[in-house]
Structures are given as C-alpha cells and as structure tokens.
C-alpha cells in the first residue's frame, strides 16, 4: 500500500493534534491574527499556509463529524494547487472571523452548507497560493511565462524546479494575489473523481483523536446527575455514600444538578450512582405523551401563522380529505457521548471538545465564566457523530463551571443515559394534511402543523456568539420570541415543496413548550417529508393514479426533483418486484439537494422488513462521489432507525428511554441493500449530509401501504 510512515505521522499529527497549543488571539481593534500560526510560515489567507519545510497546511474550517468535509474541502484546495489531497496537512481550524459561514454569520457546521458555501472560497484561497508561488518562482528565475505549479513545486520550461519551501522568502516581497483565476471544470483532475477518505487511516487504527480522547496532566474526571424530570433542579442531596467511593475528590451542586469530581470515570460514576438526591420536578411535572397529544390537538384548533399560500382559495372545491399525522420526539444519540475537557486558568480558558459551533462555545463559556471572549480557546476535535447534537454546548458549559470551581482541568463525560435523557430533542409534531378532490382531480393541498419553533428556544444561545457584546442580554432573548413568527424550519418540507395544485396553503402553530428541542439531522424535513410524501401518496391512490406518475404530473418537469424521481423509478424498475415484496416511493428537496428513493419492503407476521432502497441524488457537482454515496447510505440508515424504532416518550416530564435497549438503533442485520445513483451535473455543489434522510420514512410507509393497505400516519411505523 502506498502509505508511508511519514504520511502516517503527518496525517496522524493532524488527526491527533489533541493538546497542541493554540495561539492566543489578540484583538486590539485590529484584524485578529490567524490562530494556529507557526513561525516562518507563509499564510496568504485564513485557509492555507506553507510551512518552512514546504508542507502545505489546510485549516479545516468545519467540523468533521462523519459527513466527509475533511476529505471534501481538502480536495477543493488540492485541485487548485495541483497537489494530491493526501499530501496536504489538514489541521482543525481555530476560531477566526474569516471562518464564519457567509450565510449563518458564525463558525459552524450544520445545515448541509459546508461544501456549498466553501466551494468558491477554499478554491479561491488555494488558487491565490498557487499564483503566489508561480509569481515568486518567476521572480527568482527572472523569467515570466510557462511555469507549471504542481505537487508543491514550480517547474519551468527547461524542467528546472523550485519547491514551495525555496520560494517562501521571495514570496514575502510580493503581495499575494487576491483574484487568481480558478481552474475551469474541464481541467479538474480531483474534483468529481473517486478517492478514499483522507481521515480513514486514523479511524481504522484508533489514532484519530475525538474530544473524549483528550487528556491533560492533572485533569480530573467529572460526571453529573441531572434532574430526570426535564427542566427540574436539585432540591437537596445526601453524599455520604458517594464520598466513601475511593478516588472521589469533591461533590457539589452545579447547573441545577450535582457534580462528582474524581480521579477517573469509574469512581466518578460509582459515586454519582450512590448519591441520594431529592429533585424539584420543574415545569414539565405531570406531562406525559397523552397530555402532549391532547395539547397538540388543542393547538390544531388555533389559526397559527400562515407560512405560504398559492393559488385561488375558490378553486378548493369537491370532497375534502383530512389526515392527521404525528411524529415523536427523538434523541440524536451520536456514538460519542457529549464530553469536554476544560482548563480554566487565570488568563485563559481552554476547551478540548467536539463541537459544531466553536463560535457559540466561545460566547457561552465567556458568558458563564464572565471572561472576555478573547480568553476562550476552543481546540476542536474529530466529532464522534454530530447530527445536530453538538450544535448545543450545554456539556461544555458544565465542564467550564466545574473547572472554574475546582481550579483544575476537568474532563466532563456524559453517560449514554445522560445523553438520551438530557438531549435537545427533535420536537414532536402533529400535522393535519388536507385536500379537496373534485372529478378525480386534486383541487387543493393544505396543511397545518403544530410544532415548537426550535429557533425561538435556541436563538438566545446562538445570539450569544454572534451579537456584539455591548447588547444587553434581553435583546437576544427577545429575538427568540420574535423568531417563532418566522422560523422556516417548522414547516420546511410541507411548504414550498415544488408541488403544484390549484390552491395550496400551509400554516404553522408554535407549540411554546419548555421541553428542550434542537436541530436533529434534516430538522423540520425529518418529520415534514413523512407528512407530505405520505399524504401525496394518499392522494395518488385517492384519484386512482400511479404514485410516481401522480407526483410527476404535479411538479415542474425541469426541476431537479422531477429528474431524480424519474431516474429512481427507472433504476428501481418501478412496478416490478419479487413476489411478496412491495415498493414505495418518495422524492424530497432539502438543503438545495433533491433526493428520490424507492423502498422495497415486505410485511410478514406483522413485522416490516426493508429489502432494498434505490436512491437517486442531485447535489450538483459531486466533489467526491464516494462521500456523496456514503452520506446517502448514512441518511437512509439514520432515517430507517427513526421510521422503524425511534421514539422518546415522557412520563411526569421525564424521558422514559435510557440506553440502546429501549432506544434501539437499526442493526447491520436489519440494513437493506442500498443502491445510490448520482445525477451527473456541473452545477455548483449542494449539501449531502442531511438530504438522504427525509424521503426514506415516507417511501417505506408507502411501501407498507402497498403491502397491507394500512396507511400508517404516525412514526415510528407500527402495523395495526
């Protein structure tokens, strides 16, 4: 195999740079210096550096949580530099304003935006470095034209070579070009080609460093007991038995819970389990699923906010159909439980963790400890799954408070039970989907959804990061209140779907709940695609049309979604199955990407078995087709877990699930054959981390309808 030891250590260092020292940011009104700078290096922009030895370093501005940015974004830089992506050293970027996402105005990873919003900036940065090296070589040789830049070397017409390392000094006397021309797509040699993941080596050898793998001399381990009733707090506790556990250093109240600090995870956990705690149950006491259902039914009587309206209400004539759909709360449950190592010292606060929002971490830790933001340094690591969980830095604030209180570096580790019972959940939603049918034609398509606005709950948190510090805290809080009026995620995937009917209207009712809610992979689309694409199937059957043909008839033939649907029907051989097997289809747009899926399933003895999923995706140019395929596979498996198994339930305001025995995941044995096709496209790339998920639940439910005649309108799917 072509991997040398040098490659290994080079990449290993990047993957495992756990305790590397960050450069302290000094603001002073000037543009902040680039963090992570090394002496003697050349740095034309935030993204790229040439180290004195000639190594090209790429600062990865996004969190790698499995979705492939480590490979994808490095490939963009490699393409413009004419280097092998494997020869570029990748480092996890420290916070800097230039790494902020142009759309979200913060340094974050989410919304399937990484490739879409970095596609030009990263290539531009690399093209600038390439041209800078070319200009430096021209000056050094005293000749202009016909210089090639490839593999970290500039080569002239005579075949003479100057390595980047030899050009650093000359380059310093030339200002780096800002508008270097990007390579035309026809010249791409890496973008659009197959390639292995650049982070695979560390991940098959156990050397990739996740937050939980970071350690500091003298660090203590902390675990916490939090009130099992969501939003509740400790009233009193007895720690006599807990203190007797060998290795326990201290036990105290923090953040409404009780922290145990010990010299390892096991003594900390044993002591925590031995605590006797009396809880104040908090605002959700008494709430259970039946009450939540009733509450949603009552909210359905409200008018809500109009999200979209198209066409003429007078066209809505004929027989009216109403179908009520429901989706439960879900936990993210990434395989790596939440954790953070925090060292609070007199002049700085260092955080080693896996986070999707370094920006927010800086904001909330600064606020919690009353420190200036410049003192907070986030050493981001590989994320053992994100799925939106690591957009909320609650676990990091806990660790920071405990470190501040004990004066020691603290490694906070959550158990799986902590994770499942203290998440920011995908909210439960109830939606009435309605239509009118006249003379065999659907004349209207309307919907009203009841769901909490995630943004109204979490905006104050994100505002902490992105608002100027002089703003009083009430401003971001009031912003949260306003957002329930505009939060598009509530109805995304029901409204603006690209379906055409004579009259269409979608409204949303905000469920103002104290249940903590958050962004769960594909957010509103995760439940709304199920509602929409199941109901569309109902309508197709109601008017006696084939589900694929009905969809095509009601969408624009030049849309991406029409293209993926048509191709999925062809590739899956729609209408032909093995005896006893049945097909279901769904096509959904999310995050600017179109995905269609045909699920083949069977039902035997009341059990649903998924045999095959054929998936077609149009995400523009596929920068790394294998990563695109893997993300479709990933979204399908994640979505099937939700479709077949996932439900967080409440009793007395307390989450009744605790670990993988009662919050189960799809297993390898249950995983269907998955076939992914990518539409060939030269359009700018769009995201793939989330769009593979939304269609699979409705496609499966539609297959179950084909198999049994039962229209399952509630997730997870349960046959009568």
């Amino acid at each position: 195999m072509s991997l040398s030891r040098r490659d290994f250590f080079k990449r290993g260092a990047a993957l495992g740079g756990g305790i590397a020292v960050g450069i302290h940011l000094t603001g002073c009104g000037q543009e902040a210096a680039y963090p992570g700078a090394k002496p003697g290096e050349l740095r034309p922009n935030a993204f790229l550096q040439v180290r004195p030895g000639g190594e090209v370093v790429f600062q990865l501005p996004r969190a790698e949580m499995g979705q492939g940015v480590y490979t994808g974004l490095t490939t963009l830089a490699a393409e413009e530099l004419n280097m092998d992506a494997a020869d570029i050293v990748v480092e996890q970027a420290y916070y800097h304003p230039e790494f902020r996402d142009p759309e979200f105005q913060m340094m974050m990873t989410g919304g399937s935006v990484s490739l879409r919003n970095n596609y030009e900036p990263v290539r531009q940065a690399a093209a600038s470095l390439r041209e800078w090296m070319r200009q430096a070589a021209a000056r050094q040789w005293g000749t202009g034209g016909n210089l090639r830049v490839e593999g970290g070397v500039v080569i002239n017409a005579d075949g003479e070579r100057l390595a980047f390392a030899e050009l650093i000094e000359t380059a310093r006397s030339i200002s780096p070009p800002k508008d270097a021309a990007l390579k035309p797509a026809a010249e791409f040699s890496q973008i659009g080609r197959e390639g292995v993941r650049l982070d695979a080596l560390g991940k098959v050898t156990g050397t990739a460093t996740f937050g939980i793998d970071c350690q500091l001399p003298g660090a203590m381990t902390a675990v916490m007991r939090r009130c099992p009733h969501l939003g509740g707090r400790v009233r009193s506790f007895d720690d006599a038995k807990a203190k007797a556990v060998k290795g326990v250093a201290s036990i105290f109240e923090v953040n409404g819970g009780v922290a145990v600090v010990a010299d390892g995870y096991w003594p900390a956990r044993k002591a925590a389990d031995a605590l006797d705690i009396v809880w104040n149950k908090g605002p959700l006491a008494g709430l259970d699923d039946a009450a939540l259902r009733k509450r949603h039914d009552a909210l359905l009587q409200e008018d809500g906010r109009e999200v979209s309206e198209e066409g003429d209400a007078a066209m809505a004539v004929g027989e009216r159909l109403d179908s009520t759909y429901r989706a439960p709360m879900l936990s993210h449950s990434p395989m790596e439980p939440p954790n953070a190592l925090v060292n609070v010292t007199s002049d700085k606060v260092e955080v080693w963790t896996g986070t999707q929002v370094p920006d927010t971490v800086i904001g909330v830790v600064a606020a919690a400890l009353e420190r200036p933001r410049e003192q907070i340094i986030v050493h981001n690591q590989m994320l053992g799954g994100g799925f939106g969980r690591r957009l909320v830095p609650d676990y990091i604030v806990e660790a920071a408070r405990i470190s501040a209180k004990t004066g020691k570096p603290i490694k906070m580790v959550w158990s799986r039970e902590d994770d499942i019972q203290h998440d920011y959940y995908r909210p439960a939603a109830t939606t009435v989907m309605s239509a009118t049918v006249d003379k065999g034609e659907v004349t209207s398509f309307t919907a009203k959804t009841v769901v909490p606005s995630i943004m109204s709950q979490l905006m104050p948190l994100f505002a902490e990061a992105s608002m100027p510090e002089w703003l009083p805290p009430a401003i971001p809080r009031s912003l949260g209140g306003l957002l329930k009026h505009v939060d598009t995620s509530m109805a995304e995937g029901i409204s603006h779907t690209g379906y055409h009917f004579p009259y269409m209207k979608v409204s949303a009712v905000h469920d103002d709940t104290p249940i903590p809610v958050g962004f769960w992979r594909s957010v509103g689309h995760s439940q709304n695609a199920f509602f929409t694409e199941s109901f569309i199937d109902e309508l197709a059957h109601r008017v006696g049309q084939d589900p694929v043909a009905f969809r095509m008839q009601h969408m624009s033939p030049d849309s991406r979604r029409y293209g993926v649907l048509k191709m999925a029907a062809e590739k899956a051989v729609w209408g032909q199955t093995e005896p006893g097997q049945f097909q279901g289809v769904a096509a959904h747009d999310s995050f600017h990407t179109s995905v269609a899926q045909v699920v083949t399933a069977s039902v035997r003895d009341g059990a649903i078995k998924v045999h095959r999923v054929v998936c077609v995706v149009d995400c523009g140019l596929a920068v790394n087709p294998d990563v695109v395929r893997s993300q479709m596979e990933s979204g399908i498996v994640f979505g099937l877990t939700a479709a077949l198994k996932g439900a967080i339930t409440l009793e007395d305001g307390r989450v009744m699930q605790s670990n993988f025995h009662d919050y189960p995941m799809l297993s390898l044995a249950e995983t269907p054959e998955i076939e992914v096709h990518i539409v060939v496209s030269q359009s700018a790339p769009t995201g793939v981390g989330e769009p593979g998920l939304p269609p699979v639940a409705p496609a499966l439910a539609n297959a179950v309808f084909a198999a049994t005649g039962q229209r399952l309108r509630e997730l997870p799917l349960r046959l009568a």
């Binding site: 098959v204 799954g385 596929a622 596979e633 990933s634 498996v637 539409v679």
Partner: protein, 173 residues
C-alpha cells in the same frame, strides 16, 4: 484496590485499581490506549470491543478482575506496525468504511474476531457476529469489507498488503 496482572497487546502488565473497574477504563485511563471507545456502558453498542484470548468482549461492562492472567488485544494491537495494517483495516480503508469513525475500532475488532474463527462467513454469520451499533450507518460497507477481508485472508492466510483505491479513478454514475 487490587493488583491485577494480564497481557495487553503482547506485553505483561500489572495494574492496581478497584477490581470492579471495567476493563475499558483501565485501558483508556491507566494505559492511555484511547482507540477503544466508550459508547453505552452497558455492553449494548460494541464501541468498546476488545479481544480476550482472541474472542470479542465488550470491555465497558467487563470487570478488570476477570481478565487476570488473560491475553487482551485492543485496536492498537492488531497490526504489526502502523504502515503494515491488518487486512481488515486495509479493506476498511479501501472501502472508506468510517464516517465519524467513533464506533469503527469496535467494528474492526468484532470483524477480526469473526474472521479468526471463520474465513468464509455467510451473510447470516456476518449478521450474527457484527452486532455493533453504528449511528452513521456504515453497515452496507462493513458487510462488503468483511467479505473482502475474508477473501484476502483465504488467499494469503495472513497479513497481506492491498492497494487502496487511488484518488484518480474515473467515476461511473
């Protein structure tokens, strides 16, 4: 506290910890081998899978006292060196199996243990042996990779070298 002696990745080791401490935490905290991961603490997910005398065990719920005198192998101990990977690691790379990668040490340890017992596993045998949870959904590639690794091991009997797919293959869509 009690002193417990066992072999870890081929070396005799002694450790003085509470005997009920799960092996996982001894490996991670006392020996600083962090390739073995904590996922559930209840033996449900397999992220902590290591080998005891060649058989897979879930170290998060396996007390260290029970490994006295035994041979323990972790992900750090299955390859002769870092540029001479175990065939299972090689096919894992060639198929770009890992996504977030957190569960993959455990998946690989489960696969290695399976292939040491059975160099031609059927789909049902793979289903039974590979019960580790992956939240990223790498299962289809795990199945492919286990079969490829089995084929490699059948051909060569031992560690061999495969060339991973290079970065310049044409894409067929």
């Amino acid at each position: 506290m009690a002193e417990i002696a066992f072999t870890l990745n081929g070396r005799e080791q002694r450790v003085d910890v509470e005997p009920d401490t799960p092996l996982l935490w001894v490996v991670r905290e006392q020996f600083e081998l962090t390739g073995t991961k904590f996922g559930c603490g209840k033996g449900l997910c397999g992220a902590c899978t290591v080998h005891m005398d060649g058989y897979p065990i879930r170290s998060c719920s396996f007390p260290v006292s029970a490994v006295a005198g035994r041979q323990i192998t972790t992900i750090e101990g299955i390859a002769p060196s870092l540029d001479e990977l175990h065939p299972v690691q090689q096919v894992w790379m060639a198929n770009s199996v890992p996504q977030c990668g957190y569960c993959q040490s455990g998946q690989i340890m489960a696969a290695v243990a399976l292939l040491e017992q059975n160099t031609n596993p059927s789909d049902d045998e793979i289903n039974a042996a590979m019960s580790n949870i992956c939240r990223c959904g790498t299962y289809p590639r795990i199945r492919t990779a286990v079969k490829q690794a089995a084929s490699l091991i059948r051909q060569d009997g031992a560690v061999s070298i495969v060339e991973p797919r290079t970065s310049v293959q044409e894409v067929s869509v």
